[in-house]
């Protein structure tokens, strides 16, 4: 493989992995607090369409990202009211959020389907971007790529070094004990769910404003679900989320490069396009095969409603 190809594939892999990292890390925080929100796909779709529309009208991609984040949070709030206040089933509510979000995004996004946005130029970090092979790929990237790395380091510190992170994990493991010690379980879960929504919104914004940049119905294309699978694959640990997201990014990009390379291989493009989905399934199988890996690592109260007896 020649050096240029390596650099451009690495570049594209990082870009493809970024929305997965942002969304999956957000979901990881919700799940660490014991809340399973299957609505990531819907939150991403709403984030994507809102960010696109606001960027189009205001001309500012950053206002767009902010709007996408808010849209994701609004969707998450809806989920929170249902599952945390009204104690509805988390699986059903998450599915509802996914269906509703994708539908609403298609509805509000209709007028924007033929609109194009200007590409946002990447931000080049001086000196280290000159490193051969990897410099251009890693350090001449979109701001949100750097944000995903900051998010990762921030989350590592938060979960394992900060008091608040300890409380969050306690709420996820045993809400009853956390409540008994005097922590506001429901409020903490709300915050965790909102954080998950905010990150899903930003992830969606990344897709529509920076990655493509355009809006089309169904453009999230299952990334919200893949992010959910990544959290399981990562056994709820941030570092493994990073690794997994880049592996997936790599799979997505490799198939695109093969399709675009003009290599005359006798293999239908649709089969190549389905590789990321098969990869998700394979990874789930590998990681879930040992029942204990999942049982020992998943937050104990994940998906179970909790209502403190006041």
């Amino acid at each position: 493989m020649d050096a240029n190809l390596f650099t451009s594939m690495l570049f594209a892999t990082v870009v493809a992995g970024t929305p997965l990292i942002i969304v999956a890390l957000g979901l990881l925080v919700s799940e660490r607090a014991g809340v399973l929100n299957l609505g990531a796909e819907g939150m991403m779709a709403m984030g994507a369409v809102t960010a696109f529309a606001i960027t189009h009208h205001s001309g500012s991609p950053w206002l767009g990202v902010l709007a996408g984040m808010s849209a994701g949070m609004a969707m998450a709030l809806l989920f929170g009211v249902l599952t945390l206040t009204l104690m509805a089933n988390q699986v059903a509510s998450g599915l509802a959020l996914a269906i509703f979000g994708v539908g609403l995004a298609a509805f509000v996004g209709k007028p924007y389907e033929a609109v194009a946005l200007q590409a946002v130029p990447p931000i080049r970090i001086p000196f280290i971007a000159d490193i051969p092979l990897i410099g251009e790929a890693l350090y001449n990237q979109q701001l949100l790529v750097y944000f995903s790395w900051a998010l990762f380091w921030g989350l590592l510190w938060f979960l394992y070094r900060s008091r608040a992170g300890l409380v969050l994990r306690a709420v996820g493991e045993s809400p009853a004990s956390a409540h008994a010690i005097g922590y506001p379980v429901i409020r903490i879960r709300y915050l965790a769910v909102l954080f998950g929504g905010a990150m899903a919104g930003i992830g969606g914004a990344f897709l529509s404003v920076f990655y493509t940049p355009m809006w089309a119905e169904g453009m999230v294309a299952g990334r919200g679900w893949i992010a959910l699978a990544l959290v399981v694959f990562a056994t709820w640990r941030p570092l493994r989320v990073m690794i997994g997201a880049y592996l997936f990014g790599g799979v997505m990009i490799t198939q695109l490069f093969i399709q675009g390379s003009g290599l005359q291989i006798d293999f239908p493009s649709q089969f190549l396009s389905s590789l990321p989905y098969w990869a998700t399934i394979v990874v789930l199988v590998v990681i879930s095969r040992n029942v204990n890996t999942i049982r020992l690592n998943s937050p104990l109260s994940l998906g179970k409603p909790y209502r403190p007896d006041a």
Binding site: L82, I99, G222, S274, L284
Partner: protein
């Protein structure tokens, strides 16, 4: 201040009242939505909710639309009752359509009256085979069936796309991504003269009855219900969990596959890349709104079909995107899930201590 208070016993009435409450809230929400979009809400209501039932033909279209929904939903309900979360009915629907199309194309020109039954069987088999992947991976490798079945929806869509762009494309079809039109012997007979309502509706009603009997009057159905409501009790009684996972997923897959067959052999008359039109996802809402119960599913599928057709009407007469249907459908499920809180809780007025 209002607060929720746990009921001593779950309400007997609310499980039935809450869908009605959800429908009422959806109507109110819809009116507000029309207002927000600058449309006359009364006119919007008339077009969205009354146009689809204005005459016999409109009603036949409603029943036609409800057919795949009730088929998919009754299959899903069997799994959902046992907490088997098959959300890939959309993909199983497509594979059913593919298998049925395969039979129709292979026996092209045949006038045999066995062709249609063979297509129904192929549809059921295709859907069940697709659903057997998550079932196998769940029972043997503990892989989450929600994620696996969902991933397979995307794979199924790409598979269909490959077929209709590639080997199965109609050579005389001006390069459209579609197969040739099926022969008369491979299309569903009509139930009502002058409408598009076909045999599939009768099959759907039959399967609703069969589903009801299975869920409420068979031992396996009983075991699945126990597993859903009290997993520990089911384990203690020695009910095999993997058997229930298989039963839930295969039932869901087969029913969705038949629904897919009904679409290609019914209103579509061919396989195209647009065959998966969201029925498999909408059926999740139908199953929940119908309380995972056959009769409820019948009503819920009619309601959801109304929302679909209402969306098409809104596109035609109000110049709104037809995806407004999905907004209404999502709203309905949200309101239902919210209303369900009153099954186990009641609102109580509490005066703050002065």
């Amino acid at each position: 201040m209002l607060e929720l208070e746990a009921r001593a016993e779950p309400s007997r009435l609310m499980p039935w009242l809450s869908p009605l409450l959800a429908v009422a809230l959806t109507l109110v929400g819809g009116m507000l939505l029309f207002l927000a979009l600058g449309k006359d809400p009364i006119e919007g209501f008339r077009i969205f909710f009354l146009n689809p039932v204005r005459d016999l033909y409109a009603v036949s279209e409603l029943l036609l639309k409800a057919t795949p929904l009730m088929l998919c939903a009754i299959g899903l309900a069997i799994g959902f009752r046992a907490n088997v979360w098959n959300i890939g009915a959309e993909g199983q629907f497509m594979l059913g359509a593919v298998a049925a199309t395969g039979v129709a194309l292979y026996f092209d020109g045949s006038q045999s009256s066995l062709l249609l039954p063979a297509m129904v069987a192929a549809g059921a088999l295709g859907g069940a085979l697709w659903a057997s992947i998550p079932a196998f991976l769940r029972t043997h490798f503990n892989a989450n069936e929600i994620l696996v079945s969902l991933m397979l929806v995307y794979v199924a869509q790409l598979f269909v796309s490959w077929l209709v762009f590639g080997p199965w494309r109609d050579p005389d079809g001006f390069n459209f991504p579609q197969t040739k039109m099926f022969d008369d012997a491979a299309t569903m007979p009509m139930l009502l003269e002058g409408t598009r309502l076909h045999m599939g509706f009768a099959i759907a009603i039959g399967l609703l009855v069969a589903g009801h009997v299975f869920m409420n009057h068979s031992f396996t159905g009983f075991r699945m219900r126990v597993a859903g409501e009290a997993a520990a009790a089911a384990r203690y009684a020695g009910f095999s969990a993997s058997r229930m996972i298989w039963a839930g997923l295969l039932a869901g897959g087969a029913a969705a596959g038949i629904a897919g067959m009904g679409e290609v052999a019914g209103p579509m008359g061919q396989l195209t890349d647009k065959v998966g039109s969201g029925y498999g996802f909408a059926a999740i809402i139908v199953a929940f709104v119908g309380r995972l119960n056959a009769f409820g599913i019948l009503l819920a599928s009619l309601l959801m079909a109304l929302l679909y057709i209402g969306g098409e009407q809104a596109q035609q007469y109000l110049n709104l995107p037809s995806s407004i249907s999905m907004v209404f459908q999502g709203m309905l499920l949200f309101f239902l899930l919210g209303s369900d809180v009153f099954i186990n809780y009641r609102l109580r007025l509490r005066r703050r201590a002065a």
